[in-house]
């Protein structure tokens, strides 16, 4: 079976190594030029089931700001990011919120939670 070499840029850390991945169909034979062994794992994941950390915001009532930043508790399947963003557009929470509080558990049935990226104290407004 023919082997093929692909270049994959590792995004695990800011070094951004360009990995050279040799594979035969779905089987990865070797990963070269990785600055550390996390790169090898990344290449494997990226070529079979690419995932990304997703950070966005949801609406919050009664807080200092109208938006609360949130993030995924683990890298999220890349093809479903759009769907996740859609779902989060419909979420609204109430202040106070604590850092890392779960805003949406088990998002889209992936087992990955959406968590608050900061605390936000309640603010007493006129209404």
């Amino acid at each position: 079976m023919p082997t093929q070499m692909e270049k994959v840029i590792c995004v695990t850390c800011p070094k951004g190594c360009t990995l050279e991945v040799t594979r035969e169909a779905e089987t990865i034979l070797k990963v070269e030029k990785a600055g550390c062994n996390r790169g090898t794992r990344y290449a494997q994941q990226e070529l079979t089931d690419p995932r990304r950390m997703v950070a966005t915001s949801v609406r919050i009532r009664g807080g200092l700001h109208p938006l609360l930043p949130v993030h995924t508790s683990a890298p999220f399947p890349k093809p479903r990011i759009r769907e996740l963003l859609e779902a989060l557009r419909r979420v609204e929470v109430q202040a106070p919120v604590e850092l890392n509080q779960v805003i949406l558990p088990d998002a889209l049935g992936t087992g990955i939670d959406i968590r608050a990226s900061r605390s936000m104290a309640p603010v007493h407004s006129a209404d």
Binding site: V11, C17, P69, I81, L99
Partner: protein, 426 residues
Amino acid sequence: MSDAKQYDVVVIGSGPGGLAAAISAKKTGADRVLIIERDVEPGGILLQCIHNGFGVEVFKQDLPGPAYAQRFIDEAFQVGVEFMLDTMVLEITRERRITAVSRKHGFVELQARAVVLAMGCRERTRAQIRLPGHRPAGVYTAGTAQRWVNVEGYMPGKRFVILGSGDIGMIMARRLTYEGAKVERVLEVMPYLSGLTRNYVQCLLDNDIELQLRHTVRRILGKNRVEAVEAVAVDEQMNYIPGTEEIIPCDTLLLSVGLIPENELSRQAGVAIDPITGGPFVDDSFQTSVPGIFSAGNVVHVYDLVDWVTEAGLTAGKSAARLVRSGLAAGDGPALPLKAGENVRYVVPHTLRPDHLADGDIRVQLRVRQPLERPVWVELRSGDKLLHRKGEPYARPGEMITLPVRPNLMDELKAAGELTVAVVAR
């Protein structure tokens, strides 16, 4: 000396640099430590950087900006740092007298035994890159747009062109796409990316956003609101190449064309500024040319990673506390000048005291002039003599390089004269 309130250490700015400085000053023996911040809450620019990627290098944790900031905000409160929020510092004198104004406290005057400047940086604007054309609505800096979109919940447009491939621009390209906008193009005048490669992958490639290197905006079209921009290719000398013009319809142009350390206050205090970094000349303890005034973070030079900002803040705070405890750095040997050599645009700190190696490593940080896409040596030299070197897989202007100088070099450095740092192909 009148009724001005007295503090041991006053830190200007509550970003990661200021927070780290205040925490370490307090922990290493300074008594009254105050942070003055013009925003209504502490945290600095990180509060609007809601993306992940903070803390990976030094803390081995991948956090969103606000979460990274909160660790240090919580710690600052715990150790007893005082805060004066919603307060803008107007002036600092050489004698470390500080004038500020706020809604709550009115006009305030303070006297500090040591000051840490941690005002961060600001973005280059349209005026600084000389963009011709009308001045329609719809031209903003990427950082301003970031604050609107991420904090205030306001989308500045629907179809975007981004000028500059800095990290903020690329991160905003993804953010705007996530929010349902269309990013038509990212244009970069240089032949290489100015931000981190990982941001090119996860912000642009992942979202099918096109990047054009060696391209810039020649003209903005539209009278009241941006209607399009005219993009053009440039040659090696940065001249427009005729025939390459392209009209890209859009309603908003974001500028991500660089950051400049924010040093108005420093200048007033008589702090000498390096024209290349745009920040103060500092020694390895982050003291500026004015004794008792220290600085940390983006105010010194623009960092690409917050981890190093925190580290710099910790050093500056510790140095400030030491000065407060024992007066001007007594007993320290002479400082050696540290200069940028071959293919190095600048190096920080500007001077280095070998005696300080007794306290541990000194981190020398630099940026290269030209990209070298192959293995390089980062070398520390004294004249022709090689003192220390470190290998890197490549060197890119967009990515700061760190060269730790270890305590075992102390004796050799003491015998050395002027030091230079060079980056050469291996």
